[in-house]
């Protein structure tokens, strides 16, 4: 059995001596979800109660905006009402870029700053700076 050595004495941790094989009060729905997920490697099928809160269908009531671009638009509208107005004015490829960035990083703060960046003069300048010998008002 794993040692609960001296490290447990610090950091406000407590020495735990109860190593019996009993299952303590964990979130049973989480454990059930993990077991169902794991079983799919053997059975090839994923079966879990629809009421289990650890699967996406149960998160749908409050979407996290990762499912699709349309879902992301709804999410931005709900979370950042003001910024959403700017978002709707962006071209589709920029919307898609911001959505992809959010999906990969999960950074809520990044949504707002990315939308501002996509709308800002800075963004235009940085695009222009890749070209040479063009007037500033190009």
């Amino acid at each position: 059995m794993r040692k609960m050595g001296w490290t447990s004495y610090l950091m406000g941790g407590h020495l735990i001596l109860t190593f019996a094989g009993t299952l303590h009060a964990a979130d049973t729905s989480y454990i059930a979800a993990v077991k169902a997920d794991l079983a799919e490697f053997k059975t090839g099928a994923f079966t879990l109660s629809e009421s289990n809160a650890w699967q996406r269908s149960q998160q749908a009531s409050e979407s996290d905006g990762t499912a699709s671009l349309a879902d992301f638009e709804t999410f931005v509208k709900r979370k950042f009402r003001g910024t959403y107005i700017l978002f709707t004015r962006l071209p589709d490829w920029k919307k898609n870029q911001i959505w992809q960035d959010y999906v990969s990083t999960g950074d809520l703060g990044g949504i707002r700053s990315n939308i501002y960046a996509a709308r800002s003069k800075k963004d235009t300048t940085s695009q222009r700076s890749s070209l040479s010998n063009l007037p500033l008002d190009f």
Partner: protein, 316 residues
């Protein structure tokens, strides 16, 4: 029991350097058919941040990474930690250096510098700055199965376990189906150091993951085998489930993020957003949360930052 040694344990989650696996920063992405050993090597690469020259989890204003431990009786403890890793050493002897600094509680001001050497026969060097004594102490490498910081993670889980310590078998590829774990009572709650704790992460659902079964080579070990869910593109290991005598005994979930606007093209250039672990034999839970705003990578910090001098200058 050595009180000073105990301090080492608290650093492990944020110290993912140090080990002697024969895996270097030049490890290429696999092509064609991939086997269990190759996946294990890639997971090791990702978890040790080899895609970055240097990588920091710093303090930014009042925001900093925090480790939360929840006992089965519901009592909660927390610790704020800062961490800086340097993989970019031109010296042939040193592979990486990792500096951790505690920023809260009784350990406030304590620092630890871990040096990992290229020579596989040379063990890691651990230097610990003890602010109360204003002295540096050196220690040997801790045991793999040693719990750290009162958490459910072991040194093996977070840093010391190498691919060659286990045999690896690819179980197949499937979709990730469920959200990553959190301490349910604390989910999305306001919390010191991180402003507000995150909600459970369901971002990785429907991503393709390898099932990797890793059986330990150690005798009479605390687990027989573990099954990991490994992203087929980035090799981020989202979940690991441990088994002993056929029973599930522990789960560790890791939420990963990709560095935004990165000039690091490597798909394995990822960072930890959180670690969640539950020991099913005790009911204890641990949750480390790393806000994205405190992440910095490939900065122009001089290599001399990772030195005894920095340890001695830590303010309490």
């Amino acid at each position: 029991m050595n009180r000073f040694q105990a301090l080492l344990g608290t650093c492990a989650l944020v110290l993912a350097s140090g080990s002697h696996a024969n895996i270097t920063r030049n490890l290429p992405l696999p092509s064609g058919n991939i086997d269990g050993n190759q996946i294990a090597q890639q997971v090791y690469f990702t978890n040790h941040f080899y895609a970055f020259d240097n990588f920091s989890i710093r303090q930014r204003g009042r925001t900093i990474a925090v480790l939360i431990n929840r006992d089965s009786d519901g009592s909660v403890s927390r610790t704020a930690v800062e961490r800086h890793l340097n993989n970019n050493y031109e010296e042939k002897a040193i592979k990486s250096r990792d500096l951790a600094i505690f920023r809260s509680g009784k350990l406030n001001g304590t620092g630890m510098l871990v040096t990992d050497y290229v020579d596989e026969d040379k063990s890691q060097s651990y230097m610990l700055w003890l602010p109360a004594l204003r002295k540096i102490r050196r220690f040997a490498q801790p045991e793999h199965d040693q719990a750290w910081g009162g958490s459910v993670f072991t040194f093996g889980d977070v840093t010391l376990r190498e691919p060659e310590h286990e045999t690896h078998e690819l179980l197949g590829v499937k979709k990730m189906r469920t959200c990553l774990g959190t301490i349910k009572e604390l989910e999305a709650q306001p919390f010191r150091f991180v402003d507000r704790l995150p909600k459970r992460s369901c971002r990785h659902i429907d991503k393709d993951v390898y099932g990797l079964k890793s059986t330990t080579k150690f005798e009479d070990w605390w687990y027989d085998y573990r099954i990991s869910y490994v992203d087929t593109e980035s090799f981020a290991d989202y979940r690991t489930v441990y088994f002993k005598d056929g029973e599930m005994i522990k789960i560790i979930d890791r939420d990963w993020g990709r560095v935004a606007e990165s000039n690091v093209e490597d798909k394995r250039a990822l960072f930890w957003k959180s670690w969640y672990g539950i020991d099913l034999t005790t009911g204890r839970e641990s949750w480390a949360v790393i806000p994205q705003s405190v992440i910095a990578f490939n900065s122009d910090k001089d290599s001399r930052f990772w030195s005894e001098r920095t340890l001695r200058r830590i303010k309490r």
